[in-house]
């Protein structure tokens, strides 16, 4: 049964779980990909450089669609978020525990988004405008708006965590059930695990992984741009 990620290295009180090791692997994959895609760049891209250019253009279009043209400076953060979440959830296809199945990972990413939202809101509206934005229709709404602002990163983290962990639990139950079934039938040949887990893997790992990464990123972008507000007030 799933009880949390396994601890791989334990040094007294300090331990490193498999999620951290997997995040190192993902960072290595992304760094190697960008390193090999930007060597000897040519004007007409071919190969890895074309793939990298497609990804960058996709992310910039995505950010422009959701946040508007003058918020393109958030595109690196959005691209990193999307890449880490998509690669991390797709690595579950290889049998690893997906990184978002650890509540610490999703809370860390939601905390980064939370700080981005409020830092940019204060920077673009000023301290007084930020407090006025929290008391938006009426000053009585101030506690309600505060609670809703605090509840947003919690819901963001739990949405991603719950979906991916639910998928991981169902997959482990499925594999355990199929393994015991084929052990009863043949002994040591895992005959039932050949084709049956495929549609479940497709739904829980590929579809849910990519969809939840997309929803996390979209909600982060929408709330950051809401916090910044509309720029027509600040024109001079």
């Amino acid at each position: 049964m799933e009880l949390g990620p396994r601890k791989i290295i334990e040094i007294g009180q300090f331990y490193i779980t498999e999620t951290v090791v997997l995040l190192w692997i993902i960072s290595g994959i992304l760094i190697l990909f960008t390193f090999f895609a930007t060597r000897k760049m040519q004007k007409v891209p071919r190969g890895l450089q074309a793939a990298a250019e497609w990804i960058v253009e996709f992310i910039y279009n995505f950010v422009e669609q959701t946040m508007g043209r003058n918020n393109l400076r958030f595109a690196p953060y959005v691209g990193t978020l999307l890449s880490v979440l998509v690669v991390g959830n797709l690595l579950a296809l290889f049998g690893f525990r997906p990184i978002s199945a650890n509540v610490n990972t999703t809370f860390a990413l939601a905390t980064i988004t939370f700080f981005l939202i409020h830092y940019n809101a204060v920077k673009s509206r000023g301290a007084l405008g930020y407090v006025k934005h929290l008391a938006e229709p009426n000053a009585l709404m101030l506690p309600i708006n505060l609670i809703s602002e605090l509840a947003f990163p919690v819901s963001l983290a739990f949405r991603l965590f719950g979906n991916i962990t639910g998928g991981a639990i169902i997959m482990s139950l499925l594999y355990g059930g199929l393994a015991s079934l084929s052990a009863k039938l043949t002994g040591s040949v895992p005959i039932f695990m050949i084709g049956i887990p495929l549609p479940f893997n497709f739904f829980f790992d590929i579809f849910e992984g990519i969809l939840q990464a997309y929803v996390f990123t979209t909600l982060s972008m929408v709330f950051i741009s809401n916090g910044i507000g509309h720029e027509e007030k600040a024109s001079h």
């Binding site: 049964m1 799933e2 739990f158 949405r159 979906n163 969809l211 997309y214 929803v215 909600l219």
Partner: protein
């Protein structure tokens, strides 16, 4: 009738609580079914917008699934990482 040990009592009621917590997903299922129905109506009215309608429906469903996931997390925490045992 002999008494139940307090640990067995807490564990038993946690199991019942975990099962009751999953009743909350009824609302999520009904809401997502209504969303899918409205999306199909929209596509029937204007088949060219199928891609946009489908993407919006998927995002809307993923967001409204959050409350169902909250119920699931309560059930999982009660079953696997029960905090009430440590308070005994």
């Amino acid at each position: 009738m002999s008494g139940i040990s307090s640990e067995a009592f807490v564990l038993g009621l946690s199991a019942i609580g975990a099962a009751l917590a999953m009743f909350g997903v009824m609302g999520v299922a009904i809401g997502q079914g209504i969303t899918a129905g409205k999306a199909v109506e929209g596509i029937a009215r204007q088949p060219e917008a199928q891609g946009d309608i489908f993407r919006t429906m998927v995002v809307g469903m993923a967001i409204s699934e959050t409350t169902g996931i909250f119920c699931f997390i309560v059930a999982i925490v009660l079953l696997f990482a029960n905090p009430l045992i440590r308070l005994l």
